[in-house]
Every structure is written in structure tokens, then in C-alpha cells.
């Protein structure tokens, strides 16, 4: 925003995020209990994640690997040495009365993520990303959080590995936050460390403050003092991109209204109530010093900076999208669809290596993803049938069936009935009819319809269309109407 456009009274929204993502591992971060959701409460628990006396945590190597991958993807520093701390607070979701997390020596520092907001590239600074354990889950029975009769506690989630990703206050609107979360999830899924479909796999806390536009610098940056001078609210309990945009739009309006009416914005924590679509004030929580962070002496430090070289990460979505446009000569839209998930992009490249990349793009991006989307399915739901889809593309590429039949009969039959493409082609007789058979049908049609033939010779335009229709009927629709038209004319002119 340039100085000229700033008017007295203009307000700027400033948002920073703490994003908690669940890392995909088989077991919890400090014990060997599974992370898979359980059917029953307190099924995936052991002395470590129940905080029983004497039980000792041992770090899961896979969680550290995942954290290093995230660090690489966001171009963060992985310090020479990093360690864990205890964050003390007394609440029944923590069986030990402390959470093992990282404090002043996180595993990732000073990263960034390039995102795309309404077609424009933006870089969001990531201050840090650290490992920690998830708490358990509470159920407030017989009322709301304040009025419940009692509390039920399930520790199945306690100890599930999380990464907390903390951004700089780089967002200027709720829609930028939504775009960031979508791009972040995409990157994490490409890395194979995150599953967006898993319940509770993404949780966001957001800090939002409103500052006078004249306090922003010419390039849109904001000095720390200006930011510190404004009261901010921390909005908790956000669990989706859409939720983030809605919660922050609500909070933005609420604060601006307060300022415009000359009221002060309280510095406080607010809870996003998804069902009511509002944020509500939460009783003030502990200050940072009350957490009494101290070193977790049961876990020796980590020295994994060299893992950054050893652990490979796949090509990331943005780079892959750009490569697809160049290498396969695809439009930005097609490249974007085809790189929406790593599985889709891998499958596309598989198909494009055998057949025409353009045909492959149509069949993967439009036909397959379209039909899947219509059925509320994802490519991962047909993971083990991609060979059959490949065969279907082959049938089209080698002209054995028409594109229309491939889409309407074969692909839909494959998805709805679970049949293989060749089975459907055979059963429905979809194989393109041979030339002899078409020729035969042409001769028959002429013999059986002398009136139409006479009309044709009398110069009536509709006659040929009638004859084409007759031939198409005889061949069960499998002949090419253009070819039939030509064959008929040739036969009639003889």
C-alpha cells in the first residue's frame, strides 16, 4: 500500500498463525502405541502416554524424519542441536500435568512458504516449527464446558505426534490465511507426512490485530512496535481452511466495529464457535511464564542437522505444476488439477509416459477426477485400480472404443460396478465395428430404403441423415457417423 492511498482512519488487519498438524506415523511420538483411531476409548494407551510413574519417553525416529522433511520443504534451518522441554499446566487432557514440546530450541527455524493468493505469488515467513505431543480428548457430560456435570477422558490421542508451525504476522486478510492453509496442506501431503482427511489432523490458533494504516511502512510491512501497541486476540478452536477464513472474518469485523465506535479491543483469548459462527471470550489462560518451561531431562538432545542432506523429499507442488506446463505443454489450469495431490500427479506422469500427454491430461484431469468427484471419491479410493484406468486410456488411444463409450459406459461401469474395462467392452459390444461390417450395413440400408435413396437422388438433404441413422442403428452406434456418411455417398454415387 503506498503512502498516498492511506487515509486517516484506514485500518489494516494483521494475522499470524500457529498451525498444529498431525504427522503421519504408525506410532505415537514417545511410545509404541498406534496412532490409528481406535473404536473404544483408552484402547491405544500404555504407561508412557498415560503418564504412569516411572514410565520413560523414547522418541519416535519417524516423527523426527517427518519434521526434517517439513523443514526442508519450507527451507528452514535445522539447528545443530535441538531439544525438548516440559510445558507445565494442570488439565486432565495431560496425564503427566505437562506436555512434552520444544521451547527455545525448535527443530526448524526461519523458513518460508510461497503461496498463491488469487493468482498472485506471496511468501509467508515461518518463524519456527517444532515437535510436540497431542493431549488426550475430553468430553464434558451433561452440559457445556462451564456447566457440565462431569468430565470423561480418553487418552487415545495423547502422545500422537504433532508439528506446530508458527508463521510471522504476514497475513493481511482472512482469505490469505485460507490460501496459506490450503497450500501448506498440499505441501505436507506431498511430503507424505500428513493426511488432511484424518479427523483432527489440522488445528489452527490465529492472532489477529487491527492497526492504523498510517503505521504501516510503504512496502506493506509493519514495525514490531506498531504491532506490539495494538491489542490482539488469539482465536482458538479452528479446524479447517474454511473455518479459519470465517472465524477471522468475524473477528476482523468485531475488532473494527469496536475501534470505529471508540471502544478498546481487549487482549484476550477467544474461542471460535463453529456452529454459531462467532468467537466468544474465553476465561483468561495462563501467561507464558506460568507454563514454567524446563528441559525434558528424560530425552537427550537431538543432533539431526545432517539428516537434511540424507533425507530426500519429492518435487513439491509448485515446482511440479510449472514443470508440467513446460514438459507436457499443459495449460495452467490442467497442470494445477493434475498436481492437486501427489497421487494424481504420479498417475498422470505414468499415463503420459505411454500415451499422448494431451489425451492423458483429458483422461486423468477431466474424466477420471470428474467422475471420482461426482461420486465423492478421491484417487486414493481407486489406488489399486489405476492399472485398469491406464488400460481404458489405452483402449481410447488405440482407437478400439470411442471416447464417448469409454466415458459413459466403461469408466462409469468401472466405478459403479467394479468391473474391468475389457469386461465391459466385451459385454456391451463396444468394440469399434470393423470396416466390412459397416460397409455391409451401408449396403443393407440402401437396399431396404428405396424411398430414401430416391429422395437423395432428388436432392433432398435430409435423406442422407436418415440413411446414416439406419446404419448407426445396425452397428449399435459403434460406427463413426462421419465415416458412415462418406461410405453412403460413395455407394449411392456408384
Amino acid at each position: 500500500m503506498t503512502a498516498q492511498t492511506v487515509q486517516q482512519g484506514d485500518l489494516v488487519t494483521v494475522i499470524g498463525l500457529e498451525v498444529h498438524v498431525q504427522l503421519e506415523t504408525n506410532t505415537k511420538i514417545f511410545c509404541s502405541c498406534p496412532t490409528e483411531p481406535a473404536d473404544e476409548p483408552n484402547e491405544n494407551v500404555c504407561p508412557v502416554c498415560l503418564g504412569l510413574p516411572g514410565a520413560l519417553p523414547v522418541l519416535n525416529e519417524a516423527a523426527v524424519e517427518a519434521a526434517v522433511k517439513v523443514g526442508k520443504a519450507i527451507d528452514a534451518d535445522i539447528p545443530e542441536e535441538t531439544r525438548f522441554h516440559r510445558k507445565n499446566y494442570y488439565y486432565p487432557d495431560l496425564p503427566k500435568n505437562f506436555q512434552i514440546t520444544q521451547y527455545d530450541e525448535p527443530i526448524c527455524a526461519d523458513g518460508e512458504l510461497e503461496i498463491s493468493v488469487e493468482g498472485e505469488r506471496r511468501t509467508v515467513a515461518i518463524e519456527r516449527a517444532h515437535l510436540e505431543e497431542d493431549p488426550g480428548s475430553l468430553q464434558h457430560v451433561g452440559g457445556g464446558i462451564d456447566t457440565a456435570d462431569y468430565t470423561l477422558v480418553d487418552y487415545n490421542r495423547a502422545g500422537v505426534p504433532l508439528m506446530e508451525i508458527v508463521t510471522a504476522p504476514d497475513f493481511r486478510s482472512p482469505s490469505e490465511v485460507r490460501a496459506f492453509l490450503a497450500d501448506l496442506e498440499e505441501v505436507l501431503e506431498y511430503l507424505g507426512v500428513f493426511d488432511a482427511g484424518r479427523d483432527g489432523s489440522l488445528r489452527v490458533d490465529a492472532n489477529l490485530s487491527i492497526i492504523p494504516a498510517e503505521e504501516t511502512n510503504g512496502d506493506g510491512t509493519i514495525d514490531e512496535e506498531a504491532l506490539a501497541a495494538a491489542n490482539r486476540t488469539e482465536v482458538k478452536n479452528i479446524s479447517s481452511h474454511k473455518g479459519a477464513e470465517k472465524a477471522l472474518a468475524y473477528e476482523e469485523t468485531r475488532q473494527k466495529n469496536a475501534i470505529q465506535r471508540g471502544r478498546a479491543v481487549e487482549q484476550e483469548t477467544r474461542h471460535w464457535d463453529e456452529s454459531r459462527g462467532i468467537t466468544v471470550s474465553m476465561r483468561s489462560k495462563e501467561e507464558e511464564k506460568d507454563y514454567r518451561y524446563f528441559e525434558e531431562a528424560d530425552l537427550p538432545p537431538l543432533r539431526v542437522s545432517d539428516w537434511k542432506e540424507e533425507i530426500a523429499i519429492p518435487e513439491l507442488p509448485t515446482a511440479r505444476r510449472e514443470r508440467f506446463q513446460v514438459e507436457y505443454d499443459l495449460s495452467e489450469e490442467a497442470a494445477s488439477k493434475l498436481t492437486s495431490t501427489k497421487q494424481v500427479a504420479d498417475f498422470y506422469e505414468d499415463v503420459a509416459s505411454e500415451f499422448d500427454p494431451d489425451l492423458a491430461a483429458t483422461w486423468v484431469a477431466d474424466e477420471l477426477l470428474g467422475e471420482l468427484n461426482y461420486r465423492d471419491m478421491e484417487i486414493t479410493d481407486v489406488e489399486d485400480r489405476l492399472g485398469e484406468v491406464n488400460r481404458l486410456v489405452e483402449l481410447v488411444a488405440t482407437d478400439e472404443i470411442t471416447a464417448k463409450n469409454a466415458r459413459e459406459a466403461v469408466l462409469r461401469g468401472m466405478l459403479d460396478d467394479g468391473d474391468e474395462p475389457d469386461t465391459i467392452v466385451e459385454r456391451e459390444g463396444l468394440g469399434k465395428t470393423g470396416e466390412d461390417e459397416v460397409q455391409q450395413a451401408v449396403v443393407e440400408a440402401i437396399d431396404e430404403n428405396p424411398d430414401a435413396v430416391a429422395d437423395y437422388h432428388a436432392g433432398e438433404g435430409g435423406a442422407i441423415n436418415f440413411l446414416v441413422g439406419q446404419v448407426m442403428q445396425k452397428t449399435g452406434g459403434s460406427a463413426d457417423p462421419g465415416d458412415v456418411n462418406q461410405l453412403l455417398r460413395a455407394e449411392l454415387e456408384e
Partner: protein, 92 residues
């Protein structure tokens, strides 16, 4: 040991963090006890520093599942449980 090494406000604050209600008499008693405990820690200052094992780092385990506790065992020490859950008073 001086009596005001730990003041009553600090005791009330720590008690609040631990969600414990204290009577005034208890606050005074704990203030004295906290002061004693802090004094014990001062004794540690006279212990010579020893190098900790600098080679001890990167202690990790492979990402392999092991058996969990039976739910029944997990809940065995709980004063109250319900339908497989630990049960406790309302918290906010």
C-alpha cells in the same frame, strides 16, 4: 531462612495454577515450606559441576507398534471410570 523468601501471593498463584484452593492458614504454612525447599536447592549450588555425557544424543526408536495396555488395566488405578473413559469432575 527468611520468612518472606516466598510471599503468600506467590503461593496463591502456584496453587491457582495447580487448581488447588487453600485456606489462609495453609497459605502461610506452604509459604514457609516453599522457602525451605528453595533453600535446599541453594545447597545444590555448592555441588561441583560435572560434564554430562556429551555423546548422549539422538536416542530414538523405530516406528513400530507394540502391545498397549488392556483397557481394564489402563483404568485399574482410576478412582472412577465410565464406559471405558476416565471419569473426573467438571473442568473448565
Amino acid at each position: 531462612m527468611s520468612d518472606d523468601a516466598v510471599n503468600p501471593e506467590e503461593v496463591r498463584h502456584v496453587a491457582a495454577l495447580a487448581r488447588i484452593d487453600l485456606e489462609d492458614a495453609e497459605v502461610d504454612r506452604f509459604a514457609d515450606q516453599f522457602a525451605d525447599i528453595l533453600e535446599y536447592f541453594e545447597t545444590l549450588d555448592s555441588v561441583p559441576e560435572v560434564e554430562r555425557d556429551v555423546d548422549l544424543a539422538n536416542v530414538m526408536r523405530p516406528d513400530e507398534e507394540h502391545d498397549c495396555l488392556d483397557s481394564e488395566d489402563a483404568l485399574r488405578n482410576a478412582p472412577e471410570s465410565e464406559d471405558g473413559y476416565f471419569k473426573g469432575p467438571n473442568v473448565s
